[in-house]
């Protein structure tokens, strides 16, 4: 088969993997070799769906022995099957990398025969790339659940980031939709990678040339909307993963109709839950950078996010007693809780107010976006001039700001009153 055809099939099969980041690691190119990594990551282009493309995202092979209902590559699906040889893949990666098309390689694979065999194939491709071609760029590899721990260990020595997909937010979902996979099988390699990363870090502190195991950590992904799990369950799971498994990222992927299985949402008239996915990502950021906890964002009475406003606004509106806060005296944590003020803005506010008291005019000069924040802050005791406030007026204005987002996809009449907590 021609290379271009293989690339089409194997990247088409890999596109539902949401993760495409190249962050978490600074590394210079080894002398005479090619490739480096930057901690901030680097987007090389954006595809027509607006997602960042940073890595050459392909499968080693799409000939799978499993039959997971939600997956395009399931055994029972009638699609053309093919596989890269390790050398083809290495050549392709270097060819793309030299032209600055990509930041590195994201190598995943369908389970070809057994998890061990698949991992061996991936190791061979990565070894070729690293050792023969002297490639120093970023490599993200998928660890295959069920593979021998030693093989996963070797994979992690070649890759920068490893990931194991948790696939579905709950064990029941997994049982019905992915009968070949078990939650324990997925969590076992995750724990293995976590311990590997920790050990490797300790050893590096003692010995400079100790082998580096997955220096950019690990991530995971779950499919949203294929099962009936609530946002609250998903956030609690996410929080648990960050805390217990020290993940760098949890990715959410809105379920796309790839199967006619009766267990999944029907294909006709199906709209992928993109807005819900967006809200989950917003909440994920709140967990990682804004010192929120999942229990604060959602409770038993409100198990799902309000689609009309973002999770932080929603939290602020139900805690109006804490606002408005005074920009000139509030501490960093408090500033971070103001809707519309992010990490960058909060830092700038801290810096600027050491020199002079801040006014709304001054905040605009700092490029702090006030369209949301204005309802929640005071400058030297005063609210923004000309701001008229009634409790539901704030909500109405905040929803108004979200309108372009809400109108995307299916245009429907918005009601202010359903689901507002």
């Amino acid at each position: 088969m021609e290379l271009i055809k293989k690339l089409t099939i194997l990247s088409d099969a890999a596109k539902y993997d949401a993760a495409c980041t190249s962050s978490g690691l600074d590394r210079a190119a080894p002398p005479g070799a090619i490739g480096s990594a930057v901690a901030a990551g680097c987007c090389h282009t954006f595809s027509a769906d607006g997602r960042c493309v940073t890595l050459l995202k392909v499968l080693m092979t799409n000939a799978c022995s499993y039959d997971c209902r939600y997956c395009v590559n399931r055994r029972s699906n009638d699609v053309p099957r093919t596989a890269f040889t390790p050398r083809e893949l290495a050549e392709l990666t270097i060819g793309f990398y030299r032209r600055n098309y990509i930041e590195g390689l994201f190598l995943s694979s369908a389970v070809a025969g057994s998890p061990d065999r698949t991992t061996e194939l991936m190791i061979e491709a990565l070894r070729l790339l690293r050792e023969e071609y002297g490639f120093g760029g970023y490599i993200h590899a998928k660890a295959i659940p069920g593979a021998d721990p030693l093989l996963t260990w070797r994979l992690g020595l070649l890759a920068d980031r490893l990931s194991v997909n948790i696939e579905l937010p709950s064990e029941e979902g997994l049982k019905t939709l992915a009968p070949d996979k078990k939650k324990a099988d997925i969590l076992a390699p995750m724990a293995l990678i976590r311990d590997g990363v920790q050990n490797s870090r300790h050893e590096l502190a003692k010995y400079r040339h100790a082998p580096r195991f997955a220096p950019a950590g690990q991530s995971t992904q779950m499919i949203i909307g294929a099962t009936a799990d609530s946002d609250r369950q998903i956030m609690l799971l996410t929080q648990g993963l960050y805390r217990r498994y020290h993940l760098k990222r949890v990715f959410y992927s809105a379920y796309m109709p790839v199967s006619d299985s009766k267990l999944l949402p029907a294909r006709q008239g199906y709209q992928p839950p993109l807005l819900r996915e967006h809200r989950l990502y917003q909440a994920d950021w709140l967990l990682r950078f804004y010192r929120f906890e999942a229990e604060e964002l959602l409770d038993e009475a409100h198990p799902n996010f309000n689609p009309l406003v973002d999770p932080k606004c929603s939290w602020a509106l139900s805690h109006m007693g804490r606002f408005p806060i005074e920009v000139n005296t509030a501490d960093y944590e408090t500033l971070l809780r103001v809707p519309g003020i992010g990490v960058t803005s909060a830092r700038r506010i801290l810096t600027a107010r050491r020199c002079a008291p801040l006014t709304f005019e001054g905040l605009k000069k700092l490029r702090v976006v006030l369209k949301r924040a204005q309802y929640f802050i005071t400058c030297s005791g005063k609210m923004m001039e000309g701001l008229r406030l009634s409790p539901d007026g704030v909500l109405r204005n905040l929803v108004q700001l979200e309108r372009p987002l809400l109108l995307q996809g299916a245009p429907r009449q918005l009601s202010l009153f359903d689901g507002v907590g």
């Binding site: 070799a33 090619i34 490739g35 901030a40 793309f96 032209r99 098309y101 600027a352 020199c355």
Partner: protein
């Protein structure tokens, strides 16, 4: 009396202007460099670039103000801010008065204008690190960009560090200069005309592969051109392989 300083457009020249203005106890009302289209009505004073005087100002920016302030001046000189010399000059004057705290005065107009311009520059640098496309011309790599700011000095470390063993040239259409690199040597030089050779068969093969990958990786059900444009403004598309046809 108000005067306009005419200098050679280099950074050392600008720093010499700063030196001269303090030596002569006058505040320039305008700056002009060769190639400027604007004509100043103030009487002109020719400032001859002096590495020594410029170097003394450069050292004093670090010693008397701060390293951060000096970095802001160096980067500010690379931005596309209109009248950037005047803004830089105002910032430097303020810096000598206020000392290291000047970079924290983010609400002062003289500082805000500069920090925002530098932010624009750094964003463009960050985007271009990804959006630059090289073509293989007989073993050497060549690429073109069309940035608003002078980004080459800031891209230099990234690309030379990434491709230490390659020979490449990156041409900046807006400012007509190019970054040249071969193992062990790099330089940024003014270039008047630049044109790339027609792509060979291997090069066309890889371009086709890349375009195919780019088209395949998008999920149809999530088509969102507006989001793509937010992340990747259209002005960059002109030099990117995936939007060209051979």
């Amino acid at each position: 009396m108000q005067v306009s300083y005419a200098y050679d457009g280099s950074f050392a020249g600008f720093l010499t202007c700063v030196y001269e203005s303090y030596a002569r106890k006058e505040v320039p009302a305008a700056f002009s460099a060769p190639g400027d289209t604007q004509l100043s009505l103030y009487p002109e004073r020719e400032i001859i670039t002096s590495e020594d005087r410029g170097g003394r100002v450069f050292a004093s920016l670090g010693n008397k103000i701060s390293g951060d302030a000096r970095r802001l001046v160096v980067y500010g000189f690379l931005t596309c801010l209109p009248d950037r010399e005047l803004h830089l000059y105002a910032f430097i004057r303020l810096g000598y008065e206020a000392g290291p705290a000047v970079t924290r005065r983010l609400t002062d107009d003289r500082v805000a204008v500069l920090t925002n311009a530098v932010r624009h520059l750094m964003r463009e640098v960050q985007l271009l690190k990804g959006f630059v496309r090289f073509s293989d011309c007989g073993g050497r790599l060549a690429g073109e960009i069309e940035p608003k700011n002078r980004v080459l000095p800031l891209l230099r470390g990234h690309f030379c560090g990434r491709f230490p063993a390659e020979t490449f040239v990156l041409y900046d259409r807006t400012h007509r200069e190019a970054l040249f690199h071969r193992p062990g040597r790099t330089a940024i030089l003014p270039v008047d005309t630049f044109h790339m050779d027609a792509p060979g068969s291997t090069e066309r093969f890889y371009r086709d592969l890349w375009r195919r990958f780019y088209d395949t990786i998008a999920i149809e059900g999530r088509y969102n051109p507006k989001l793509r444009m937010t992340h990747m403004p259209k002005r960059y598309w002109g030099t990117m392989t995936e939007f060209q046809e051979d």
